[in-house]
């Protein structure tokens, strides 16, 4: 068990800067996810953490000891790779036993035939076998021990890779997109198993993914990375509802958050897309703003007017309990997506004109540079808008 401290990590590949001043503190036993699109540097950061790559600046501490310059095996970390990286010429049992053989047997004891003759080898080998078997059983792969990785399915290989990491009882588990080679159904199942594994082992997990669903469901905290920078580190619900940066808001959430350009008319009023919303903004009149509105922050109203947005329905996506309605608004080049409850909005057809209201407390304001503008919501102001809510 150990905490992890990442302090000011820089990494360049030639002229390309991959990581810029990444600092992050991970508590003992925490499940932290590094989330970002491919190429954002999250895997590189994980490799630096493991000691597989060397940073250009900054330092890494694991369990309050600096581990810079230490070889991977001396860092007390285990890693599960996206490609599983099993040894194809070894059986499952040998794959899982290898880290233990390397750490517990001496070089002489590992010799193919001679090693067995040395004192202690047989006893240690038997202990290793017991541990490997126990771990394999706990992962449900006890019956596969004699097989080679080529004879296993994707999910089974995944378990072997996890097992190989587990047998060492590392202080920190590193996982590099471990589920992205699995099919959708298995992914959900393995996701639950990884969560369970974390709860059972209670050790620190650092998990890299580009899949926000994985990040949101698994993590204690999510660290959103973009272009080699850490944008925000917060619990999943805060990342979603209270992003610090426009890029975080846009990356998280499906369908994507609606971004609308608006201008402050006067205190408490913002003009956008031919309408005026009653929203308190900490900005001077005339200042341009971007409003980030999640699809579920819209609700259906029966007529247009101040505080409502009006557009024509381009497309409807039925998702069972919800509808995703794509609305073309005057002056917007991309459609607005509103998530409406299916039972409350049964008669919508493409081409129809629709009015939607916006929950003012759910509107996120961003300045021109993408920085979030926090504001105090005056609930009283929102309720006096002359709009009757008929759907959320």
């Amino acid at each position: 068990m150990a905490s992890v401290l990442i302090d000011g990590i820089d990494k360049n590949y030639g002229p390309t800067s991959v990581l810029r001043g990444v600092s992050l503190s991970i508590a003992d036993g925490e499940f932290l996810t590094l989330l970002g699109p491919s190429g954002c540097g999250k895997s590189t950061l994980l490799r630096i953490l493991a000691g597989l790559e060397v940073q250009d600046a900054g330092s890494i501490s694991i369990g309050e000891r600096a581990v810079d310059g230490r070889r991977p095996k001396r860092r007390d970390v285990a890693m599960v790779f996206q490609s599983y990286a099993l040894y194809p010429h070894m059986t499952v049992a040998s794959n899982m036993a290898l880290p233990l053989r390397m750490s517990r047997l001496s070089a002489f004891q590992r010799l193919p035939l001679l090693g067995h003759l040395l004192p202690g080898t047989a006893r240690t080998a038997a202990e290793i076998e017991v541990e490997v078997t126990r771990t394999a059983k706990s992962l449900g792969i006890g019956h596969l021990m004699a097989r080679k990785p080529g004879q296993l399915s994707g999910g089974q290989r995944q378990r072997v890779a996890v097992g190989r990491a587990m047998v060492r009882h590392p202080a920190v588990f590193l996982m590099d997109e471990p589920l992205s080679n699995l099919d959708a159904k298995l992914r959900v199942q393995m996701r639950a198993e990884i969560k369970e594994l974390h709860q059972r082992l209670g050790v620190t997990f650092v998990y890299v993914t580009h899949d926000q669903a994985e990040a949101m469901t698994l993590s204690d905290r999510v660290a959103v990375m973009l272009d080699g920078e850490l944008l925000q580190v917060d619990p999943p619900q805060d990342i979603y509802a209270d992003p610090d940066d426009r890029r975080v808001a846009e990356f998280i959430g499906s369908p994507k958050i609606n971004m609308l350009e608006g201008v402050v008319r006067e205190r408490g009023l913002i003009d956008l897309a031919g309408s005026t919303l009653t929203i308190e903004a900490d900005a001077l009149p005339g200042a341009p703003l971007t409003l980030g509105i999640r699809p579920e922050a819209f609700y259906l109203v029966d007529y247009g007017g101040p505080g409502a947005l009006t557009g024509s329905v381009r497309m409807i996506e039925h998702m069972g309990s919800d509808l995703f309605v794509h609305l073309d608004l005057a002056g917007l080049d991309h459609p607005l997506i509103a998530r409406l409850l299916a039972e409350r909005a049964p008669h919508i057809v493409p081409g129809q004109t629709l009015h939607v209201g916006v929950r003012p407390d759910r509107v996120l304001l961003f300045a021109g540079d993408g920085r979030r503008l926090r504001r105090k919501v005056e609930s009283g102001r929102a309720s006096v808008t002359p709009i009757r809510e008929i759907a959320r």
Binding site: A50, L52, P72, V77, M79, F81, S83, H89, P99
Partner: protein, 282 residues
């Protein structure tokens, strides 16, 4: 291979033409070989007869093969060939695998330059180096020993190149996993890379063994002692000293020398083809 021919099924005329070309080429390559086997079972009188028949009128195989085995120290030559080929192969793999690993998976300054030098080494015919190697062997005082037969081949640019290409196809993650599992770089080479590159190792082994078993040029320069001669040189000596124009036993000896190679190739054929094509497309 077979999948390939199925997917490119040709029209009958084209198929016939292709088969014909292959048959003729195959026959051209096989004829001397068949002739050698045929001569090895003929009595001296029949060998120089003007009419040709594959099967002898009088079967003389037992006499020819007995003379081949008894008049010249053929088993000794073959034993020499075995020792020399085995030593060369073992040392080649011992040297080439770590070199290839460094060139394929480690990052260090000058790596590309070193690999370029390996490629240059690949271009040089071995005969070009024979005089300097001879002088070197003389200076080392190892002429007319097994060591003289072995040392010029210990570093094989072809082996380094072949292994390096194969190691490149092994994902970096496997190397990373091995490092995390506590393997040293040398252990990664022998426990992970070489076993994973087994098809390449087998293909290289066949090339190496065939090449050095059949080599005549360098042994001719390096050894004079008959007890050190590998098979082809031994047969040449046998021809000069013992057989004269007695081609029957000579051909019997030649056949015996080739037999181990044919057996080895047939046994390893599957890996051989896999090793030569596998690295290219994976």
């Amino acid at each position: 291979m077979s999948a390939n021919t199925h997917s490119h099924r040709l029209l009958p005329p084209a198929a016939i033409l292709r088969q014909a070309v292959l048959l003729v080429t195959g026959a051209l390559i096989l004829v001397p070989f068949v002739w050698m086997v045929s001569l090895s079972i003929k009595p001296p009188g029949e060998i120089f007869r003007t009419s040709f028949s594959f099967w002898p009128a009088q079967f003389y195989g037992v006499e020819n093969y007995t003379r081949a085995l008894t008049q010249a120290p053929l088993p000794r030559y073959m034993g020499n060939g075995l020792i020399v080929c085995a030593m060369i192969l073992a040392l080649q793999i011992f040297v080439c695998a770590p070199c290839a690993y460094a060139l394929a998976k480690l990052r260090f300054p000058g790596r590309d330059l070193l690999f370029g030098m390996v490629l240059i080494g690949l271009l040089l015919p071995h005969q070009v180096l024979s005089l300097p190697l001879f002088i070197l062997a003389y200076q080392l005082g190892i002429l007319n020993t097994y060591a003289a037969l072995i040392f010029p081949y210990v570093v094989s640019p072809f082996g380094i190149f072949l292994f390096r290409q194969f190691f490149k196809t092994i994902p970096d993650d496997v190397v990373h996993a091995a490092r995390l599992d506590g393997l040293s770089e040398i252990a990664i080479v022998w426990k992970i890379m070489v076993p994973m590159a087994l098809p390449a190792v087998i293909a290289f082994s066949i090339f190496s063994v065939v090449g050095h078993w059949n080599d005549l040029f360098w042994p001719l320069i390096a050894v004079r002692d008959q007890s050190l001669m590998p098979p082809p040189l031994g047969i040449m000596a046998f021809k000069n000293e013992e057989a004269g124009n007695d081609y029957g036993p000579l051909m019997a000896a030649s056949t015996l020398v080739v037999v181990p190679l044919v057996i080895a190739f047939l046994a390893a054929q599957r890996w051989f083809v896999e090793g030569l094509t596998g690295g290219a497309v994976k």
